[in-house]
């Protein structure tokens, strides 16, 4: 739907939702969102506008007339609630796209999240930090480091000014800073930030939590670049161990009821959600596969370490209910075991494989 800038009143300038240029197009559904051209309209629609379009119209129309003050206050309250809701939706969408590695699509969603957060909380609030971080992450993903640095500088300053923000936020901030410096090639600086990341993550979740592994993994990569292979190797082991312990616990929990009732226990998506969210799932998948690659490419293969990684991957796919992949990795372990018969098999593996076979038969 086209709009004509010259046809508007003089004080009203219509701006593009994304770039802020003079707008020539209007969203035909909500009629309160403007774009400079069809590309911006498309990218916003794909990213976030499709989800929030119906919510916007009442927010962007002028304040309606009410008779009493209570009504006015109620309405204002309602609008505030809606904005908060929008912050949540937009942030979640941005996160989702970031997890999928879809940085370009994540950008408009993150931008909206930031914008609504500012409207609600003002400029100096800690609430803005997640949005800043999402924007920075998207920019790092797109390779626009200067831009990412700017967002991160904002986030860092906000965090520094507010004394009471939790370890969780610190952890995310330093993760992004570390990634930024790593992308810039400033390895020492990035190491410093990853160290902070690990520290704060341990503070927030404990040293054995899988959320700490991200920092360790990034550190390992940096050490690998610095050609300190022994450190990288020991960090990879640490990461694998943490994941293995965590997944082992989950897998045992799932296998337990099956043994008791001798029935096929339906592993639903919900159990996986309890175990870890989508972001962690993607991160875990990336990390474990990268470690597997690293192990495969090593000049001298170490069967113990190799087996550990494969075992972890089997468990991982099992917990994520991807049984085919789990079986594939499980079989690789068995093959490896034939080559090196002196190595012990992980104790949970036989029952796990049996369980997977049953499951696959049932699905056929």
């Amino acid at each position: 739907m086209e709009v004509y800038p010259l046809a508007q009143p003089k004080w009203l300038k219509l701006r593009c939702e994304l770039c802020g240029n003079t707008a020539y197009l209007k969203c035909p559904d909500c009629k309160v969102t403007y774009y400079c051209d069809i590309d911006h309209m498309q990218s916003d629609l794909i990213s976030i506008h499709g989800k929030i379009c119906p919510l916007l119209s009442s927010l962007r129309t002028p304040f309606p007339f009410f008779l009493t003050d209570t009504q006015r206050q109620q309405y204002a309250e309602q609008m505030m609630q809606r904005k908060k809701h929008l912050v949540d939706i937009t942030y979640q969408e941005a996160q989702k796209f970031l997890c999928e590695g879809n940085h370009r699509t994540a950008l408009p969603a993150a931008l909206h999240s930031l914008r609504f957060s500012i409207e609600i909380y003002g400029f100096k609030s800690v609430e803005l930090v997640p949005a800043y971080l999402a924007l920075a992450e998207a920019n790092i993903g797109l390779g626009d480091l200067a831009q990412a640095q700017e967002y991160l500088a904002q986030a860092q300053w906000t965090v520094l000014k507010s004394s009471d923000c939790g370890s969780n936020i610190h952890h995310k901030l330093h993760r992004n800073l570390g990634r930024l410096y790593a992308a810039e090639g400033n390895l020492q600086e990035s190491l410093y930030h990853f160290a902070n990341d690990v520290y704060y993550a341990s503070e927030a979740f404990g040293t054995d939590d899988i959320r700490v592994t991200g920092g360790y993994f990034q550190m390992a990569n940096v050490f690998f670049c610095l050609n300190k292979r022994d450190i990288a190797d020991s960090l990879y082991i640490e990461v694998t161990n943490i994941w293995n312990d965590h997944l082992c616990k989950l897998a045992k929990m799932q296998l337990q009821p099956a043994k008791d009732t001798c029935q096929l226990h339906t592993v639903t998506e919900e159990t996986v959600k309890e175990a870890f969210d989508v972001a962690q799932k993607n991160e875990g998948c990336q990390i474990l596969n990268a470690i597997l690659n690293f192990r495969e490419q090593a000049i001298k293969q170490d069967p113990i370490k190799m087996m550990k990684v494969l075992d972890t991957l089997t468990l991982f796919h099992f917990v994520c209910t991807d049984f085919k992949k789990a079986r594939e990795f499980g079989k690789r372990i068995l093959r490896l075991n034939k080559q090196f018969p002196d190595q012990e098999l992980p104790e949970i593996l036989p029952s796990l494989l049996e369980w997977i076979e049953l499951k696959l038969l049932a699905s056929k």
Binding site: R15, G20, S43, Q147, I231
Partner: protein, 458 residues
């Protein structure tokens, strides 16, 4: 192509004018990343004449050079001031790649706090400063943990072991027992990897772990550890820092633990088991070559045999003890041996021998001024005479015991001797009294009544 507006306007729509001015720090190159290429902003900072002039003035300022010399704080240095000591240490360790040290460090502090919470107000650990505020300890931890990890990574397990041992000893000396225990356990884990030294470190680690368990009262586990230590040191000539051979140390440890176990069994009246263990202890002491220990266990064995009535065995062990005590010149020991021997002989009915031993000892005790034992032997001897009905001699010995005890600062002993002295006196009087009552005549009765009234000794 659309014209790019000011950065602020690019971010915010027309409807949010009130928020625009304050958002100068927000990035504006966003549009570039979103879609089609957009031309660069027309105004750049370089062409701004004002900024250029300020820059020129600053260059000419003579103070400018001075300000260059003043060292400014980097972000990191500022962060070091801002953050806690614990955090700084953690980050330093992580940055150098010592993630295991970090993990251990972190969990130890957590454990300390957990123990503190569990102990509640008033417990020992509650009164101590939290670990994250004891900077010297944190520094020690950092130093040795990182050294150990570096050594371990390079495969030099021996160095790692040394560092853990240093930490364990440090905490032992500073009174943090559970921390010391933790690091002894670490030593033990590390020592398993050390193969080249023939198991010396492993043996040491076992010994240390045994000590830890012993302190916690887990005697059975401690015994196991000590036994491994003993087996490892068998036939080796390793020495510890003080010149003792490790093997003798092992023997001593085993001896101690056996003795403790036996004591426990004796408390529960399991005499047979106790004797078996005491024999083991005796063997250990013999093997360790320490006479004092040997004597000690011989004495304990003697007593144990005595308590189950095997006096012959008891007498042989007590004689061994006496011989050893004589070699060592240990008069208290000789006294104890004499006393126990006389008891043993007494129960066998060989009163004469028994008396002989005690008299021998009293001689020794008198010459060496060992008053405590003197008193005890005197009582003992007196007791024997008393039961044999030789009240005159019994009285004499009790008196001596009382007189000696008067000079000792031991009040219970004094009271005891007082009672004995009283008994002795009473029994001595008995003879006379009996004589008088046997001859039932008026004079004697009168005599007795008279005595009863004024109670003076004649």
């Amino acid at each position: 192509m659309p014209q790019l507006l000011t950065p602020e306007a690019a971010l915010f729509g027309e409807t949010h004018q009130q928020t625009m001015s304050a958002l100068s720090a927000l990035p504006f190159a966003l549009a570039k990343t979103i879609a089609v290429p957009i031309q660069q902003p027309t105004i750049t900072t370089k062409s701004d004449p004002k900024i250029e002039r300020i820059h020129l003035i600053k260059d000419k300022d003579p103070k400018h050079d001075v300000s260059m010399d003043i060292k400014e704080f980097s972000k990191r240095e500022a962060a070091v001031y801002r953050n806690s000591h614990k955090q700084n240490i953690c980050i330093e360790m992580l940055q150098e790649g010592f993630h295991k040290s970090f993990r251990e460090f972190f969990t130890l502090i957590d454990k300390w706090n957990a123990l503190r919470e569990a102990g509640g107000p008033g417990s020992d650990i509650w009164l101590l400063k939290p670990l994250d505020e004891q900077y010297d300890k944190l520094d020690q931890l950092q130093q040795f943990l990182t050294l150990a990890e570096a050594a371990q990574r390079a495969g030099r397990h021996e160095d790692a072991y040394k560092n853990y041992l240093a930490l364990a000893n440090y905490f032992k000396n500073s009174g943090n027992d559970w921390l010391a225990d933790h690091f002894f356990q670490r030593c033990f884990d590390t020592a398993k990897f050390i193969k080249l030294d023939g198991g010396k470190r492993e043996a040491e680690a076992y010994a240390n772990l045994g000590l830890v368990k012993e302190r916690h009262g887990q005697l059975a586990t401690a015994l196991e550890h000590y036994e491994v230590f003993y087996n490892l040191t068998l036939g080796r000539i390793w020495t510890d820092g003080k010149g003792h051979t490790q093997h003798s140390v092992a023997c001593e440890n085993l001896w101690r633990i056996y003795t403790l176990l036996a004591d426990k069994m004796l408390e529960n009246k399991e005499h047979q088991g106790a004797i078996k263990i005491l024999i083991k202890a005796f063997e250990m002491a013999k093997e360790g070559g320490d006479n004092r220990l040997k004597g000690e266990s011989a004495y304990r064995l003697g007593l144990a045999y005595l308590s189950i009535g095997k006096t012959d065995a008891a007498i042989t062990f007590l004689k061994t003890y006496m011989a050893i005590s004589k070699i060592l010149g240990d008069n208290v020991g000789i006294g104890k041996a004499n006393e126990a021997l006389s008891k043993a002989l007494e129960s066998q009915g060989k009163i004469l021998d028994s008396i002989q031993y005690l008299e021998k000892f009293i001689e020794i005790a008198k010459n060496n001024n060992v008053n405590q034992s003197l008193v005890e032997s005197c009582i003992c001897l007196g007791d024997i005479f008393n039961t044999r009905g030789r009240y005159e001699e019994a009285y004499k010995h009790f008196k001596k015991a009382y007189e000696t005890a008067c000079n000792l600062p031991n009040l219970p002993l004094l009271e005891e001797t007082q009672v004995y002295y009283g008994i002795g006196q009473a029994h001595k009087m008995m003879m006379e009294y009996c004589n008088h009552t046997e001859v039932v005549d008026f004079i004697n009765t009168k005599f007795l009544l008279e005595w009863k009234e004024n109670r003076t000794d004649k």
